[in-house]
């Protein structure tokens, strides 16, 4: 069966510091992968989408970037964090046949 893992689960970072969140998927090959962000009390905002290695589509231009160095690895990064980057970051993979989206456990980021 397919599993998806994210880390770290929680982090507190100062403004201006870099960020790296990692996501890996097991049990499927060439998955479509997504990064979403959920601000406190808000809905899910799509940030990035990837259909394969090195293929990234950006939904919202901002100081975040994403990379897919391996088939089952998806990384979210920032060179300099802003206060507004605080939120709950969720990685997800899509079942090609049903369209279902399955989420990882999430990474909660607080920027101070």
């Amino acid at each position: 069966s397919q599993t998806i893992h994210q880390w770290p689960a929680t982090l507190v970072q100062p403004v201006g510091s870099p960020l790296s969140l990692e996501c890996t998927v097991e049990g499927t090959s060439n998955p479509n992968l997504y990064w979403y962000r959920q601000a406190a009390g808000r809905g899910l905002q799509l940030l990035f989408y990837s259909v394969g290695i090195g293929q990234i589509s950006s939904e919202v231009p901002q100081n975040l970037s994403a990379s897919r160095p391996q088939d089952r690895q998806f990384i979210l990064s920032s060179k300099k964090l802003l206060l507004s980057d605080s939120g709950f970051y969720l990685c997800a993979w899509r079942d090609r046949y049903t369209g279902e989206l399955f989420f990882g456990e999430g990474s909660r980021l607080t920027v101070l």
């Binding site: 799509l46 369209g99 989206l101 999430g106």
Partner: protein, 117 residues
């Protein structure tokens, strides 16, 4: 206009009652719809999805879709306190022509459900 809209709630129902959660969407090209449940501090988990007009039942949950009215709903029968959570409605938005777009799952802001004993 938001692409997927939900009443934020809270919707409060007594234990054992039917909870009715509603959602509307703006893109007539959307073909599939999903309901997720999210407990506080946790990631969303899929409850069920629906593609066709009408009802789809899975245990205590029933999803209803009316494409003409662009309306999706989720009914929870015999509500339990453990059902207290935020329920997210989502719709796949088709790719935008000439935009190099792609299918993306658009989420509503969620409805908070509180089931009290």
């Amino acid at each position: 206009q938001k692409e997927v809209e939900q009443n934020s709630g809270p919707l409060s129902v007594p234990e054992g009652a039917i909870a009715s959660l509603n959602c509307t969407y703006s893109d007539r090209g959307s073909q599939s719809f999903f309901w997720y449940r999210q407990y506080s501090g946790k990631s969303p988990e899929l409850i069920m999805f629906i593609y066709s007009n009408g009802d789809k039942e899975d245990g205590r949950f029933t999803a209803q879709l009316n494409k003409a009215s662009q309306y999706v709903s989720l009914l929870i029968r015999d509500s339990q306190p453990s059902d207290s959570a935020t329920y997210l409605c989502a719709a796949w938005a088709p790719p935008r022509r000439f935009s190099g777009g792609y299918n993306k799952l658009i989420f509503g802001a969620g409805t908070r459900l509180a089931v009290h004993p």
